[in-house]
Symmetry: C2
DNA sequence: TCTACAGTCTACAGTGACTGTAGAGGCAAG
DNA sequence: CTTGCCTCTACAGTCACTGTAGACTGTAGA
């Protein structure tokens, strides 16, 4: 029950010290108590909170979504449909991204397979990059991060 | 054969004006001629170059890789194994990312399926986010952008 | 010729989610 | 007391752009 420093919290939750301070700066983690010398002091609830954030990030939720989830969590008698909507949204994002990446994989594989070595000037990879005709990019959907 | 302004080049290659200037600033596009009043003037080769860059980006190649490819392109008598290595590397990235995303999709799907509505306090999605025990994130592999 | 209005210019700030660095001070073990 | 790690703040850097402000240019119609 004794408070821990940021380093201990970092180990307990598996989140880097700098990242914890960053989460504080953007308001995902509240401002902790301080020791006389100004060091941050956390209780066990901070481990819980930080793990929640980390797991959300590991699942690709943007910090804004996590912020919303935390707000919802603070009002546990509410209906959970908002939570479901956020998760569903994230699932759609992941699926969209998967689709893009599968197309990329196909195209890259194709490019590499059709290259038979030799000089750069006759390299199929290069010509594929030059010739924009039969490719994914046609969709004009930029490949974005998750 | 008459030179075009940046706006025309933008339309011809499907790349935003600001992005073209950005590519110039990082040296992916060379510095073009200018009109008397200082406007950029491009020839048809610029469309070619820009399309090459765009297609590479669409395939997820980082700009540094594209820079290398352009250098290799300028020396067409070289062996193309370096080109192949860059493409192969990118394919590995894509595959790694696909693996992560498939795991994410599974976990999100599972979370959402197990939620049966009701209050936030008993929401399975929330408890899944709180309980870190049986998840992907165990791998401690951060989900990174492509 | 005048007037809109679209296009272009530079320079810089902002995005997301952190990471890295510098320079100073804190704390516990040997 | 010294060694060595920990923590502090504040700010710059990452990637690949996007957005904004404020000024200038070029062109088409009245």
């Amino acid at each position: 029950m004794k408070p821990m420093t940021i380093g201990r919290l970092s180990k307990a939750a598996g989140v880097k010290v700098t990242t914890i301070r960053y989460y504080e700066s953007i308001g995902l983690m509240g401002e902790p108590d301080r020791s006389d010398s100004g060091q941050r002091l956390y209780g066990d609830d901070a481990v819980q909170r930080l793990s929640f954030i980390r797991h959300g990030r590991d699942l690709g939720f943007p910090t804004e979504a996590i912020r919303e989830l935390i707000t919802l969590q603070s009002d546990p008698s509410e209906d959970c449909s908002a939570v479901e909507a956020i998760a569903e949204d994230q699932l759609q994002n992941v699926r969209k991204r998967l689709k893009q990446l599968r197309a990329l994989e196909r195209e890259l594989k194709h490019m590499i397979m059709s290259c038979e070595g030799g000089k750069v000037c006759e390299c199929r990879i290069m010509s594929a990059l030059n010739d924009h005709s039969d490719c994914i990019a046609q969709t004009h959907e930029r490949v974005t991060a998750l």
